[in-house]
């Protein structure tokens, strides 16, 4: 109803026509809808009773905030399957897959319009930005009954054979009571391929049904990563999502649908909205290396770094670390979060000053590796 927020621009556009080509190549849409305020959106290719329907998804996302010079190591995009029947895979012919496509050119990244159907990447063979997800690998299950797991929590029984894991989600829809059942619950224990315990207390006498769904993870390729915007003035990364038959312009078989439903951002009350994880390599201010000639394990040493940065440590901390050769990890020694920019400060720490074993911090050649880094700045 009342909101301070104009809109996020994610959702779906749909074209329907009496031939595959007419639906696929539609620019002036006569049978269409679009949606920018609903909880769920769909990607689909379908044929039913002589009508072909294609639905394309749009996922603009503000990715400003990454330093312009930062190196992106990897990125993954996540969609949570919607409730109801989140998946249809009628035409399992090898072209039944989903992928992130781009870059979309919807008229506005904060709204989606009826004329955006043909703005979801190239109409034929759009550039794919991630590893394809075959529909047959997408897990979901339906439940029609539940019981006490013996510890006072709900154990659901699946009607299908998809195997869920601890941490996957189940959406319960109680037909009558209790209200607390309705919504997302986490799988806490897998008893076998069809019985799962959930993190919700069991109530005797209630009747429920539900669906189990999981996050779908799109692993971006180098092209998809290159689409990620870092600039404040042009902040939107413009992802689309399309079904395989639609991408390669291959008609879906008569009478079938390949469809996937996901949660959009607009009306979600929880954390089931889409998100993008970007792994960024931090900017290293300096590396230091120091020879070490141990007298005995009881002998410690001091590591000191002195310098300055043009990015305030209060915005991005400056961290001194030492390499642990046993665990192959960097260990924090000290950090600065308060010094002024362009002003010298010091990071210092003792290793082994209390007589502890320091052998993990040098290799067989007695090399110690330390580094100082900051996520940005110079």
């Amino acid at each position: 109803m009342a909101s301070y927020y104009s809109g996020a621009g994610d959702g779906k556009t749909k074209a329907a026509a009496l031939s595959w080509d007419a639906a696929h190549d539609a620019t002036s849409i006569t049978m269409a809808d679009y949606d920018y305020t609903s909880t769920l959106a769909t990607v689909s290719s379908a044929e039913s009773k002589g009508t072909f329907t294609i639905i394309r998804g749009f996922l603009p996302i503000d990715t400003s905030g990454i330093n312009d010079t930062a190196t992106i190591l990897s990125a993954k995009f996540y969609l949570m399957q919607g409730t109801g029947s989140p998946l249809a895979n009628g035409d399992n012919d090898g072209d039944d897959w989903l992928n992130i496509v781009g870059q979309t050119t919807q008229a506005s990244p904060t709204s989606l319009g009826i004329n955006d159907f043909d703005n979801c990447g190239s109409i034929d063979n759009p550039t794919e930005g991630a590893t394809r997800i075959d529909f047959t690998t997408i897990k979901w299950a339906q439940y029609s009954n539940h019981a006490d797991n013996g510890s006072g929590f709900v154990r659901v029984t699946s009607n299908t054979n998809h195997t869920l894991s601890v941490g996957d989600y189940v959406y319960l829809t109680p037909l009558i009571t209790p209200a607390e059942y309705r919504g997302w619950h986490t799988v806490t224990n897998v008893t076998d391929n069809t019985h799962y315990d959930l993190d919700v207390a069991y109530t005797a006498g209630s009747v429920t049904q539900g669906y189990a769904v999981v996050w779908q993870e799109f692993i971006l390729n180098s092209t998809g990563i290159s689409w990620i915007k870092k600039t404040v003035g042009d902040p939107y990364t413009m992802f689309g999502i399309r079904e395989g038959h639609d991408c390669i312009d291959s008609s879906i078989a008569t009478g079938y649908e390949n469809g996937f439903i996901w949660f959009t951002s607009e009306e979600t009350s929880g954390n089931s909205d889409p998100y993008l994880d970007v792994l960024v390599l931090q900017t290293y201010v300096i590396f230091q290396f120091k020879d070490y000639s141990p007298v005995g394990n009881e002998q410690g040493f001091n590591v000191t770094w002195q310098g300055q940065t043009n990015l305030a440590p209060s915005i991005s901390p400056v961290v001194l670390q030492i390499y642990n050769f046993d665990t192959s990890t960097w260990v924090n020694l000290a950090q600065n979060v308060s010094s002024d920019v362009n002003t010298d400060f010091e990071l210092s720490a003792w290793i082994g000053d209390s007589g502890e074993d320091i052998s993990a911090y040098h290799n067989s050649a007695n090399m110690i590796c330390c580094r100082v880094y900051q996520g940005g700045g110079s």
Partner: protein
Amino acid sequence: MQEITSKRGWNRKVFDNGDGTQLYRFRVRHCHYKDDSGNFQDIDPRLTFDNTAKKWKHNKSSYSCEIPEYADEEMDFRTKYEGANFNAKFKASSASHILGEYVENGEGNYILYTNAFGTGIDLRIYSYWKGIKKVVVARVQPTIQQIQKFNYELILPNNEDVLVDDTTWDKNSTLNARGKRIKIKDSNNKLIWFNQAHIYDSNTPPWSATLDIELTKLANKYLIKKNIGVDVPVADLVYPVYLEL
């Protein structure tokens, strides 16, 4: 993995992995609001009851709200997001005097007024990340008389402009906004958005449609009226049926 709170944005969290890399997590929607000091904080729209004001409240988002103790009382919405200075009041004037109860589950946070519009017809007021949302939940098929009670009163203390499709409404005639979004321009020329009104049922997949919304200017307030037209197959829907405004 430790969050670097100084790197938060409206839709962004940044985590230090401790290995020289940082994980940026971007949500499509906002996950933060700015507090009075201008620092980003986690949005938390859960409601608590103010015993003095007799209202359900929260102020941990880019807006604040006061949701009434009883269904037929006034609710308040206000925001100062990015320079806005907006306040509106709503009232389900035809609802019964039903005490609300707080519900927090997988569907979100809301005040439930059971049977607010008669037996089997509830009112829910949701508080969520971007605003408040009124939902009439018909657990049974409503009568014509019950449907006519779903209206709302809107009070704009500053008599702001009302727009549909970027056209300012003259307020002299009844405004029909089916399938469109109503916007209100505050005194700082900032826009406040009303969602499209829509209806959906409990079928799988749900049947859904947009609803006719009419806005009529009265003496010192507006009447928001939901019209359930002949294109809504009331008798064939799977209940509960949800009407959102």
